[in-house]
């Protein structure tokens, strides 16, 4: 079976609006029923659309890697089913096993958990060579770091020695390092990762992610992600409308708000301004005057009223990953 694209998602704070800042909330999450779990506005609609079958095209592959404990699998699978989201892989963290074996560092540490899973997922999936990937994470932990490292290992830009050094520096256990190195050595170099979306759940200033290169796209919401994905051909205009509907239902924005969100993502260089005209035209061509399409159309007009903001800069090649420096940068915010 061949694939058109691989989408990899984190769950907490990326797909689900999870508040685990306090012990009380953390306990509450464990006992939440599937229908009580709240989505980050637009996340379910976007994931549904990305996974949707498109006529004449290969299917896309949806893989979920979450730091939630394995004991939550049933609840989370039911939640995804309620949202109409289909997936091909779903990995959860063996937290109980970590505790039982006294691997307390692994309870919090994410690089040593996620990196081998990502690499092995790529390795074990048939017909995935050359298939591009888009990854979704958030700023609550170190997703930008993990995903960037994965992308550069996959592309052959990080050699084994360097990988070992980085994994030791983050405190990964030896078995996680071994699994990562084994997978990295077995994989053929494949510069597959196109974009890494980072949901700014904690409002981290976007420039914080500058050192990760233009491949990392910090977003304030999934409306912005939908615009970038529309521009990249991942999402239809109808898909943008559906994501916008879900976003508007949750947060009730005006056309002015959307125009500002348009401009923000253009200004930061992640989207050409012409994408707005393309979206406006595509929405006008659609039959049926959906309220969301009208709001988007108005915001496209308001966007052009705002005048030039900054010229779109196409993504430059990723920086030569100095992951020790990136780690130091990351620790300035996530000690």
């Amino acid at each position: 079976m061949s694939w058109r694209h691989v989408y990899r998602w984190d769950l907490d704070k990326t797909y689900l609006k999870t508040d685990f800042e306090s012990v009380r909330r953390l306990v509450g999450i464990a006992f939440e029923r599937p229908e009580e779990k709240r989505n980050v506005p637009g996340s379910a609609a976007l994931l549904r659309e990305l996974g949707r079958e498109r006529e004449g095209l290969d299917p896309s592959r949806v893989c979920i890697v979450s730091g939630s404990p394995r004991q939550m699998r049933g609840t989370l699978e039911k939640k995804l089913a309620l949202d109409g989201v289909r997936f091909h892989e779903f990995d959860l963290k063996p937290q109980w096993e970590n505790l039982r074996r006294g691997r307390f560092r692994a309870v919090r540490e994410q690089v040593g958990y996620k990196l081998p899973l990502l690499l092995r997922s790529r390795l074990k999936t048939e017909d995935v060579r050359g298939v591009p990937e888009t990854l979704f994470g958030d700023d609550a932990e170190v997703d930008a770091f993990i995903y960037s490292l994965y992308a550069d290992v996959l592309a052959g830009r990080v050699n084994t020695d360097r990988l070992v050094t980085v994994l030791k520096a983050v405190g990964a256990y030896d078995d996680a390092i071994g699994k990562s190195v084994a997978a990295a050595e077995e994989l053929e170099p494949d510069d597959a990762v196109e974009r890494i979306f980072i949901m700014l759940d904690r409002r981290t200033p976007p420039s914080f992610f500058g050192p990760f290169g233009p491949r990392v796209v910090p977003i304030f919401n999934y409306f912005q992600a939908a615009l970038v994905l529309f521009s990249g051909g991942h999402l239809s205009a109808e898909g943008v409308v559906l994501v916008t509907r879900s976003f508007l239902e949750a947060e009730g924005h005006t056309a002015d708000d959307l125009a500002n969100l348009f401009q923000d993502v253009v200004r930061r260089g992640h989207l050409p301004a012409t994408a707005m005209q393309d979206l406006g035209m595509a929405i006008q061509d659609q039959n049926g005057a959906q309220a969301e399409a009208e709001v988007i159309w108005k915001s496209v007009q308001r966007f052009s009223d705002l005048g030039p903001a900054r010229r779109f800069m196409p993504p430059a090649p990723p920086p030569d990953g100095d992951y020790e420096a990136l780690l130091a940068h990351l620790r300035s915010r996530h000690p």
Binding site: P205, G210, D256, D257, L261, D264, R267, L306, R310
Partner: protein
């Protein structure tokens, strides 16, 4: 010129001129970023060099749905002649800010740039309220007595620099505009208004003050309290004090200077002797209150009155806090329909022919 009100369904929007202040765009962008998170009830359009503004914004926490950037690479520096600068820079940031308001895309202007340029830009793009010949810059000054139902610890002083030589009729207009502003912004239903002079008697002061006194005394819509002297300003004997721009600016700067000197003296005293340090520590609560009352940054800029839309002039050396407060005042001015209130009040003033006082 037709005035526009806040469009239903569109959030109140402030056109913030980010350029030309003493501290550059960093303070304005910082204020905007904080407001975008703290105040979901309004939007800001940041006007200036989008490369600079963008870089500053991206290094801060902000809410993008409530902010947009309007690029221009032209602005008026503090030391430029306002007229020459605006003539040679048709895309100056302050002109664009006023243009956005005149086109109904924003509801009020906030600028910390060149005062003369702000007034001239407003005159060109917004236009004056019918019956207003000259604009007035109004500033709040801390007072001993409180004012209005909100018990505000400050009075309004105008003009503080827009019109250096005001005629008697200009002073009358300033009085009416100041009272209307106090009604709209401070919810003071009948603010008391006085002319600044060198004596309380009606015949004291230069001819324009004497003549303005004669007209105001005959206006029933104005709660005219006669003349006040300089010492009445910090006392807060009246809610609105009217003078020309030259005198007002001197008074305002002197009050600011006194506040800063007191603060510096207290710091010196604190460092000098243990006994003074002990005494100041004991008085710290009260001193903090005084310092807060004298802190111009918390008063949120000076409205330039007389134009068809609100324009707030923040101090040239405003930092983030002062600019944020200026934006809040601008929002209040836009929502309270302040310019319409002034327009209605000014329309009730008899013309020079009607009141028989000529040549002011």
């Amino acid at each position: 010129m037709e005035t526009t009100t806040v469009t239903p369904g569109r959030p109140t929007t402030i056109a913030l001129d980010c350029m030309g202040s003493d501290h550059g765009p960093a303070e304005a962008v910082d204020a905007a970023a904080r407001l975008s998170i703290e105040r979901p009830d309004f939007h800001l359009i940041l006007i200036g060099d989008s490369h600079v503004i963008g870089a500053l914004l991206d290094a801060r926490e902000y809410e993008p749905a409530r902010l947009s950037v309007r690029h221009t690479d032209q602005w008026v520096a503090m030391d430029e002649s306002p007229r020459d600068a605006l003539n040679s820079k048709p895309s100056a940031s302050v002109l664009i800010a006023c243009q956005l308001v005149s086109e109904g895309r924003a509801d009020a202007v906030v600028t910390a740039g060149n005062t003369g340029a702000a007034i001239l830009a407003a005159a060109r793009k917004l236009g004056r309220i019918p019956g207003v010949r000259r604009a007035a810059l109004a500033a709040v000054t801390p007072t001993e007595q409180t004012h209005g139902p909100n018990e505000d610890p400050f009075a309004l002083l105008l003009d503080v620099g827009a019109t250096l030589n005001a005629t008697g009729r200009d002073l009358v207009t300033f009085a009416i505009m100041g009272a209307a502003y106090a009604r709209a912004i401070s919810n003071n239903p009948r603010p008391s208004v006085a002319l600044l002079s060198n004596g309380t008697e009606p015949h004291k002061g230069p001819p324009e003050v004497v003549q303005a006194h004669a007209i105001l005394a005959g206006l029933h819509d104005v709660n005219f309290a006669g003349n006040v002297e300089g010492l009445d300003i910090p006392r807060g004997s009246v809610d609105v004090v009217v003078t020309n721009g030259f005198m007002g600016n001197v008074v305002l700067k002197m009050l600011e200077g006194i506040g800063e000197v007191i603060s510096e003296l207290a710091k010196d005293a604190y460092a000098s002797k243990f006994l003074w340090r002990f005494g100041l520590t004991m008085l710290s609560g009260g001193l903090q209150q005084i310092q807060q009352a004298l802190d111009w940054e918390q008063y949120g800029g000076a409205p330039i009155l007389g134009f068809t839309q609100p324009i707030i002039k923040a101090h040239g050396r405003s930092k983030s806090k002062a600019i944020a407060n200026a934006c809040k005042v601008a929002v209040k001015a836009a929502r309270s329909d302040m310019t319409r209130v002034i327009e209605r009040a000014v329309s009730h003033v008899p013309s020079a022919e009607e009141d028989g006082v000529q040549g002011l």
